[in-house]
Symmetry: C2
Subunit: 509 residues, 2 copies
Amino acid sequence: MAREGGRRRRKTRPETGLKQLAWRDIDNPYRPVEALNEEQLEAISETAFQILEEIGMDFLHPDALEILRQGGAEVESGSERVRFDRGLIKEALARAPESFTLQARNPLHNIHVGGRRINFGSVASAPNASDLEGGRRPGNHADYQNFLRLGQSLNIIHFFGGYPVEPVDLAPATRHLDCIGDFITLTDKVYHAYSLGRTRILDALEMTRIGYGLSEDELAEAPRIFSIINTSSPLRLDGPMIEGLIELARMNQVVVVTPFTLSGAMSPVTIAGALAQQHAEAMAGLTLTQLVRPGAPVVYGGFTSNVDMKSGAPAFGTPEYTRAAFAGGQLARRLKLPFRSSNANASNTVDAQAAYESQMSLWGAVMGHANLVMHGAGWLEGGLCASFEKVVLDAEMLQMMAETLVPLDVSGAALGLDAIREVGPGGHFFGAAHTLERYETAFYSPILSDWRNFESGEEAGSETATQRANRIFKEILAAYEPPALEPDRKEELEAFIARRRQEGGAGSL
Amino acid sequence: MAREGGRRRRKTRPETGLKQLAWRDIDNPYRPVEALNEEQLEAISETAFQILEEIGMDFLHPDALEILRQGGAEVESGSERVRFDRGLIKEALARAPESFTLQARNPLHNIHVGGRRINFGSVASAPNASDLEGGRRPGNHADYQNFLRLGQSLNIIHFFGGYPVEPVDLAPATRHLDCIGDFITLTDKVYHAYSLGRTRILDALEMTRIGYGLSEDELAEAPRIFSIINTSSPLRLDGPMIEGLIELARMNQVVVVTPFTLSGAMSPVTIAGALAQQHAEAMAGLTLTQLVRPGAPVVYGGFTSNVDMKSGAPAFGTPEYTRAAFAGGQLARRLKLPFRSSNANASNTVDAQAAYESQMSLWGAVMGHANLVMHGAGWLEGGLCASFEKVVLDAEMLQMMAETLVPLDVSGAALGLDAIREVGPGGHFFGAAHTLERYETAFYSPILSDWRNFESGEEAGSETATQRANRIFKEILAAYEPPALEPDRKEELEAFIARRRQEGGAGSL
């Protein structure tokens, strides 16, 4: 079974009341579920190449156009349209690593990205936050910090995929300074930096250098931060995203290209068509990273879902979404690249729908062999809200998923023939030696599920899982203690933030 | 896509307001998820044989002992203990069919059992029923009939796996007459008969003969009813179950042997040990069926889960449960027999826990390639309660699962290169011809999920999925119309019930 973290972690993380799984590396022992056969994979790949060869993609930044032109792509004169020869793409993508390790400030929280490893992230980028008492409100800094504390406290959350909630009470020009500063002081896990122009990314890189205690040369030696690059589907990559992509690739940091191919809106109304477009957009963005720096670490992102054709609203955790996740994993593996998926749902409240849509997404991600699962804990309303109760609900579901991926022990001792002989027909195993030796750690112990019978549950007030989650997230916050940070680094970080704040941060957007 | 049922069904089933999937045969296109490698499968199989050879199993009925003795098993003198040579077991089980069709009263509702086919059943055998308004109450006849109406109305429910709720207001001696009578008059799908002694099974067979309009010879020509035979784990089969097993096998009806191997209570505290015991008990019970009638249709049942080691309460939809379902499917396929699993959960209320535990069970069943999924819709509280809202919640989850099993269309038309060309970078697909041709049927349309945005949901009263399910189950009941039943059969059935009632039914239990 998994073991408790080493020396450093015990020192910096006192035991809380929460009996959770220890931090562990999770590998998927099962064969991926395959939604496409070889011929179908080939057809999607071929269509994606045709899209990039015949239609092309718009890159809304002169630097990208220059890099792509020099790299051998065909930039249409007087236009932002770029067409790619498939040979160029194949050659570029062959240079990207199949796997790499994202280093956390606390080395015990490093995450390996690739192969059979699966890492779960916190909710990211929600404009609103909610909990049962406070209701739904626009994102603010206090909520932002509390989501970071939850993500740091829960061992099943391996990284932060962005700001859990957008703290709109912080000035836009300096918000990134406050938020990255919080990542470094309130957590010691891997975090994400938004690609909202060059300045913000350079600030994030410098803060990471300070927080990790590195020289400038050391910073580019290993991947430490990552950024989600969303295409503006169909077939467009915006300027601020391009600036982030270029700076990160240049510094050997991780670029995750995730096309936002909502089937029926920004991509064809068929899953196959949406996947072909996803594949084209991902390959184009990823090719740019490899032209910036051959070998730069990248991830193939899949976010294909469908819209509700009645209202145009995006839907998540649908049967279409799950199959697109299975297929997305196959397309990423075809390129020998790590795969990113999500734990998404469209429910407006932390109810049964939120749970079953998240489960459908999670099974798609896990059996699609995703290496990074964005929005792993806390996502609600198709991403419009980060919910404190949903964090706990998702943490339980993620822990259950992690346990489902633990290979069964089928040793002679586990098979227990002697115990069966000892108990014999008609007996019971409660008192058997085989049971007594193992019962404390034999089974997964939940953090949220209530297995008491109806009468006991009624005596305890008949809480729903959501009501229990409310109690639990407050208990976790009450027990939170910040991880260690060397005082000199903290001082340097604060001085940097103060200086950049005085300079006006990223200026007006 | 699936098509609406044929002529007979349209005549007997008017359109209701519910926009649900049409009745369809569901085949799993994905490879099963395998929790055990070949060596581990062999180890479990070997342990199961050792259990039956060395320890043996108790059969608490003289008829079984006699059949087993004549069949070559070793019956311990003056005891109910039976030991089986593995050669006898292999020879007996090799005679059982790999697949068969259970014929429904309405042939459009026949279900094939075996191969990649998956069939979902209604909740069964709960002592209590509940809905939001009425709360939780002991099972009664009115609730029983309403669950039958829901199961008949919902196309995703393929069969009835027992009484959805136990109608304790009906006299025990004649309850089976009322309940089987209701199956035949309120539904036209496949149903289950309890093995509570010979009399009840013979009554069920005779009522089935009448309801289907068959001669006695015709009755044994094809499987039409089935019964779950639970072992009294560890290693015991009770008398009433044995009587049912013998009569059904004799009449070529379906016996599903399902050991009740709760790990830590009635089986070893390890999943491997529980599976070995499950395999032994299932093989023993199934061997008996083949000694009664070689070739009798059978199903290998898996119900292995774990108890909460703090309270001893059974838990379902746990990581242990899911892996046991994956492994159970492998063990059944090793014997070339159909596999039965369940949609189980331990929640006391229709909340997020009920949803995620059911999802964990369902993914175990579906990716374990179960052919019969018992308790598919309505199960709550580890089986102690049948919930009307849970029926709707589960029907949504089952429909989503069915859609997830539909192979993706990757034809040239589906790939939509022309549509992508037409829309081009920066456009949208809402008005594309490719979209307009397909949008009405492109995506799964939910019966329960609410995809409206938060503000619209708030205007609509911010219902949870459970509250919506309450509204929906009442709408389905209001729209219900009974299926056709030939008047002469109905008359004969009523006369039979009246006569058997006068005779005292099954007598006092």
